[in-house]
């Protein structure tokens, strides 16, 4: 059942097929995710179309510095994850492990910054409740989008942290270089979560800048 020490799981005929299969399955799942976030962005688009000025005004209140910091952090984490992925495929276990630690650290930093940003937003009354700071049609839907989108994204990212932690467990057991399919699909997931953020950054933090 094993080729070069790689474990092949049940329905698969060989390791190569398993990796391709899992990679394909993950991409199909990511297509699902595209539609999941896409539907949310559709509500944003309709709101932006109906109330362009209000959305611009509401976007001005988004904490640009936090958003920019998180964008840089997340693209860096995407880089370290990609290096880890390529390292595993070249059997460079130590490099992969180091990069996964970096990814985990950057991901955690993202979540922490996000939490600080949430704290700031709430103190600025940007939760669209009774004390909402902004007026005008379209402002509340914009901020609803903000909370839902960043919230859902943060949940995805937290799941991603779990996935990276799982890979680190493999790394510590020394089995990471034999877990090519796991590494591949984890990377796909992590990079996808990064890509989503790039769009959220454009939609939330950049619309209100002048």
């Amino acid at each position: 059942m094993s080729q070069t020490g790689v474990t092949v799981r049940e329905p698969w005929p060989d390791a190569r097929r398993e990796e391709t299969g899992l990679q394909f399955a993950m991409w199909v799942f990511l297509a699902t995710e595209v539609l999941f976030f896409g539907a949310l962005i559709c509500t944003y688009a309709v709101n932006r179309w109906a109330h362009p000025a209000a959305v611009r005004e509401a976007g001005r209140h988004a904490a640009f510095a936090y958003g920019l910091a998180n964008t840089v952090i997340l693209t860096l984490s995407g880089l370290s994850m990609a290096i880890a992925d390529r390292a595993v495929k070249e059997q460079l276990g130590a490099l992969a492990k180091a990069c996964l630690w970096i990814t985990l650290a950057l991901g955690t930093a993202f979540v922490v910054i996000k939490a600080l940003e949430y704290y700031k937003d709430i103190s600025d009354n940007l939760w669209p409740g009774p004390d909402f700071a902004l007026r005008g049609a379209g402002a509340r839907p914009f901020w609803s989008f903000y909370w839902v989108a960043t919230g859902v994204h943060a949940i995805h990212l937290t799941i991603g942290l779990g996935v990276v932690a799982r890979l680190l467990v493999f790394a510590h057991r020394g089995s990471l270089v034999r877990r090519v399919p796991s590494m591949t699909i984890s990377t796909l997931y992590w990079e996808f979560v990064d890509i989503v953020w790039l769009f959220l950054f454009a939609l939330i933090y950049l619309v209100g800048r002048t």
Binding site: A31, T75, L76, L79, A82, E90, T184, L198
Partner: protein, 97 residues
Amino acid sequence: MTRRQWKQVVATPFAAWAALALGIGLTCGYALMGASPFKPAIALAIAACQAAVSAIVFMRLDRASALVRFAAVSGVLWLSFLFILSFCDYLSRAYPP
């Protein structure tokens, strides 16, 4: 680490990251430059380019089979159905603008 491995594992991803960072710089610079009706469009276009770089280099679409590439594109394709047909309603409404 061999020279090939160095290029493959470290140099190429770094180059891609440099492209992403350039994108961040461009999009922020443009956003801070001042008002323009095309702003969201430009920002989204830059984000789409960044996404493409990430998908091709980080997510290895460069090496992927046609099938996987098709799966990757299908989500975007189907999302375009949602956008095109719902905006076919909105853009032809007398209401709101």
